[in-house]
């Protein structure tokens, strides 16, 4: 434990930014810990890591982390991260989002980042609710559950984050929960190492809003539900589909190799430069190109 604490301290902005804003018992801090352990294990230089977030409880994570950090607008973190990655390819750009952030307001950016297969690591912390604004239903709120804006029960089916990511073109897709903290950091490590668009869904909970409205108990009770209701991929594969549908399936769900956007764009640059040398071109200017 003491060793872990030491590891985290090396990556935290300890001067001003604590205590953090999250509720006691929240899962976001566990994801942050897992992210730190993953980065530490890979041995990345702090200068070479950028963490970009959107808006919501998860959006506050970067401010605590001693990297190049950017807390952007609601849903748009992936678009900011895309520009940053293209400008500074050496950076490992990690994008932390919530479920409403990534899949409602940011849904379009999410599927297009996946389709483009840009080399980013997207961590979606899925608590199935808008926590910061007080518990309104999100695109991952399960059917029939209560939310501040679904007082009579929720009637929209939820988005399956991982399946959506795979369909949209992500090269690496994995899922775990905040109960499985060690497994989570291993999956995040793999996601960061993967070149291409990788997604890690970290299933979490919000005991403060969702848990209270649905009478699910304390954070400990909700944590226990993550433990009881989740299975590994190996176990899931032996199950009947109906049985499996009731479970949170953990593990690497998708891992394929294909060239990422920057690799392909490098070809665009090569083809363009084959026509004219850049410096000569600058000298020639607008009049000289045709």
């Amino acid at each position: 434990m003491a060793k872990n604490e030491h590891t985290a301290y090396a990556y935290l902005r300890t001067t001003k930014k604590f205590p953090n804003i999250w509720c006691a018992g929240c899962g976001i801090g566990i994801v942050m810990g897992a992210l730190i352990r993953a980065i530490d294990r890979i041995g990345l230089d702090k200068d070479d890591v950028a963490v970009v977030s959107g808006i919501g409880c998860s959006g506050r994570m970067p401010v605590y982390l001693d990297f190049n950090t950017m807390h952007t607008t609601h849903g748009r973190a992936l678009a900011f991260a895309t520009g940053l990655k293209l400008a500074q390819p050496k950076l490992h750009v990690i994008v932390v989002m919530g479920d409403g952030d990534a899949l409602a307001i940011g849904g379009n950016h999410f599927i297009h980042a996946a389709r483009r297969n840009i080399d980013l690591t997207a961590i979606v912390i899925n608590n199935a609710i808008y926590g910061m604004t007080g518990g309104q239903y999100s695109p991952t709120t399960p059917l029939d559950m209560r939310a501040a804006t679904a007082p009579y029960g929720h009637v929209e089916p939820p988005f399956p984050i991982c399946e959506l990511s795979i369909a949209a073109g992500a090269t690496f897709v994995a899922r775990s929960t905040v109960y499985h903290a060690i497994e989570l950091d291993k999956l995040i490590e793999k996601a960061i190492r993967k070149v291409g668009f990788s997604v890690v869904e970290a299933v979490s909970y919000c005991h403060t809003t969702y848990g209270r409205m649905n009478k699910l108990g304390s954070s400990v009770d909700m944590m226990r539900m993550l433990k009881d209701h989740s299975i590994t991929l190996a176990v899931a594969e032996k199950m009947m589909p109906e049985e499996r549908a009731m479970k949170i399936v953990r593990g690497v769900l998708h891992d394929v190799d294909k060239p990422d956007y920057l690799t392909l764009y490098q070809k665009v640059i090569e083809r363009a430069q084959a026509t004219i040398d850049g410096k000569e071109f600058l000298r020639a200017g607008p009049g000289g190109l045709e």
Binding site: N68, T72, R76, A79, L86, A87, Q88, R271
Partner: protein, 373 residues
């Protein structure tokens, strides 16, 4: 010097390249698309990046991300896309990230008339975002000016760590004019200020001489935080009034203390004028045509062409107001910048000449105003 016939939109692209722009993210929209097409062809030759994003919101976001990564970045759009970009114009202002946003205006509201000129976004460029922040908006009247002012837009963005908007009329974006291109290496270019203080001393939003803190790029060894929340000198979110107010004041000051550098306008025949036309964009060309005709008829008419419309050049308009009996403000909208002129010279002195149907204000319309018809 090479003489070419060049389109306004193309000149914007060349201006960007000359200014050192190496990142463009955009979404296709008439009448700005030629800028994207031109840069998709030219930027990779210089090792630069062109990317077509999924919408205009993402386009400006990508530009801000790239700018944080150290590249000069631009996007271009038209009314509907400009509306979508407001969120991130505000973000860039709050986070003090340099970027250039080109809006080749079309007739609005809504989808309006995609290929018809309009000056309907003048107030939106100033007040389109929520909240209160200064902004720089430049406005060319011709193809050569589209080139020059694009360079200036980048220079001001980098110098003052601010988003700069280049507003353009469809008619200027699509027109072709004779253009004598300077060798691009001779174009005066300003780069953002870097720093050499030790990283642990660096304050990304600190109070500095000149009010513009230096901005090293992400990945250069200075690890700092950027946010759209009100933040302290380190960039960390704050709710403390003693940190919020100094930020507001500094960001106002960095523009208001440098008006000599930012405000660009041209006065013609104002020395003897008892009537002065205040105009911008393509309408300034109608105004010059009208002024020449009027002076042939011995009317003492002058012209002020505004190249910077925001911040509004209050001093020059006040001086004109003291001097002239009448101030004529022709616009391709229902009267937007006229509100500013009226505020400064008094409503009784201002004659508005407006049309917002997708046609240019004709010299005759202005001449009629001059002659009191």
């Amino acid at each position: 010097m090479t003489v070419r016939l060049m389109q306004g939109n193309e000149a914007v692209g060349w201006g960007a390249i000359a200014a050192g722009c190496r990142f463009y993210a955009g979404y296709p929209i008439t009448p700005s698309t030629e800028i994207a097409e031109m840069l998709s062809r030219e930027l990779p030759k210089l090792g630069g990046i062109f990317i077509q994003m999924e919408d205009e919101i993402a386009s400006l976001a990508a530009c801000i991300g790239a700018s944080a990564g150290g590249l000069k970045a631009m996007t271009a759009t038209s009314g509907p896309g400009f509306s979508l970009m407001q969120e991130h114009i505000g973000y860039a202002a709050m986070a003090e990230v340099p970027c250039v946003i080109v809006n080749v205006q079309r007739l609005g509201p809504s989808t309006g008339q995609p290929t018809s000129p309009s000056q309907g976004d003048v107030m939106q460029a100033r007040w389109g975002t929520h909240g209160d922040h200064p902004i720089i908006v430049l406005y060319p009247t011709s193809v050569p000016e589209a080139f020059e002012l694009t360079v200036t837009a980048f220079n001001l963005a980098e110098k003052y760590r601010t988003p700069v908007i280049l507003l353009m009329d469809e008619v200027v974006g699509h027109m072709r004019e004779r253009f004598e291109a300077p060798p691009l290496e001779e174009v005066q270019v300003v780069d953002r200020m870097g720093t050499n203080v030790p990283p642990e001393w660096y304050k990304p939003f600190g109070d500095t001489i000149g009010d513009v803190p230096p901005m090293p790029s992400f990945g250069s060894g200075y690890r700092y935080h950027i946010t759209g929340l009100y933040h302290d000198p380190m960039g960390y979110p704050t709710q403390r009034l003693d940190e919020i107010n100094p930020w507001i004041e500094r960001v106002q000051r960095k523009i208001s203390n440098h008006l000599d550098d930012i405000l660009m306008y041209q006065e013609e025949n104002t020395e003897d004028a008892n009537m002065v036309i205040v105009a911008y964009g393509a309408t300034a060309r109608s105004a010059r045509h009208a002024m020449k005709l009027a002076r042939q008829h011995r009317h003492h008419v002058g012209l002020v062409t505004l190249y910077t419309i925001w911040p509004f050049p209050e001093d020059v308009i006040q001086r004109i107001g003291r001097m002239a009996r009448r101030v004529i403000v022709p616009e391709m909208n229902l009267g937007q910048l006229a509100l500013e002129v009226e505020r400064l010279v008094g409503r009784h002195k201002v004659i508005r000449v407006n049309r917002a149907d997708g046609e240019m204000v004709s010299p005759q319309m202005i001449l009629d105003a001059i002659e009191g018809r």
